[in-house]
Symmetry: C2
């Protein structure tokens, strides 16, 4: 998506730890109009798939999930991390090993919010290693719901997450694909 690639070039920063930082508009600062346009592109791609629910994980995926859900006119649902006691009822959960935090956490979703009748589209800001996405897919399966696919703003194709999901037959749609970050901090997209 040209609009997103141009914005990444304009406002993306590479942090000291090598993260691609899109804090100005995507996952810290949030621009509703811009994210609505990303949501509309996701809607267009999955328009024929009968999506009934948008699923993400807290926290940075929530804004895009919300504006995408608005386009589909369906609810969003964000999995909590290690907060079973806040949800407080029966839950589906999945363990995820976090690369950024160097720890293991539980993704937790209230059973009352996900049913076997749901056609679930997973939405997130980034996909890199894909561990969290695999955790969300595990929850969709435990609920007996149907996975429609995975939509992300940015896929890092130099990480294995997207490719692994596609090899499992998952429909992964990435609005921007970053192939490489050069040693001097330039972002190169997949052509």
């Amino acid at each position: 998506m040209k609009l997103l690639e141009e914005r990444i070039i304009k406002d993306g920063r590479i942090t000291k730890l090598g993260y691609i930082n899109l804090t100005e508009f995507l996952n810290h600062g949030v621009e509703p109009d811009f994210l609505s346009k990303l949501g509309a592109a996701v809607k267009k791609h999955f328009a024929a798939d009968g999506v009934t629910k948008i699923l993400t994980a807290e926290a940075s995926g929530i804004p895009l999930a919300c504006f995408t859900a608005q386009k589909f006119k369906v609810p969003a649902l964000f999995a909590r991390k290690n907060k079973r006691e806040i949800i407080g009822g029966d839950c589906y959960s999945a363990k995820v090993a976090s690369f950024t935090a160097g720890s293991v956490y539980d993704l937790v979703v209230a059973k009352s919010c996900l049913s076997p009748e749901d056609n679930v589209l997973i939405v997130d800001d980034f996909i890199a290693g894909g561990k969290e996405t695999q955790g969300l897919i595990e929850i969709v399966k435990k609920a007996g719901a149907k996975l429609v696919g995975v939509a992300v703003a940015v896929e890092k194709t130099f990480k294995p997450g997207g490719a692994l999901l596609r090899s499992q037959g998952v429909n992964v749609y990435s609005l921007a694909k970053i192939a490489k970050i050069t040693p001097d901090g330039k972002i190169e997209f997949v052509k």
Copy 2:
């Protein structure tokens, strides 16, 4: 707000730990249309105040902050918790003692996302003790920005947070005020 009170009565649950659980539509499951209506009510209340930014803290305040920001046509910004390394640049921060988690965490906001020219409206799903809101206000002050007020979906008036903020001269607007949860789990609103 009658619409929200009716929905709380219909779908609110009291968890074993005594939390008011609005997971079906507000802060786990998220209904875009419903939250847009709450955002519109917040917009109406603060319409004359020149709001330039909506500030919240991850994670459960993000959906309402997003849909409120959309109504104001301004950016939202969500403070991260203990994730300075993900933001990766210069930050404003404030320490918050968490009642629910029983721990202390840092609220962190990138300096690039908040400027002295900003008129900031803090938005959250709940206010109870108000510690997190005080942390967000500390960040607004550190940025040299102006605090317009605080808008929440639900205020627990049996907790001190809202009253304390008002005593400090903060314009606190609550769409629903819960006065009491009875021993048998009934929710009573402020009349």
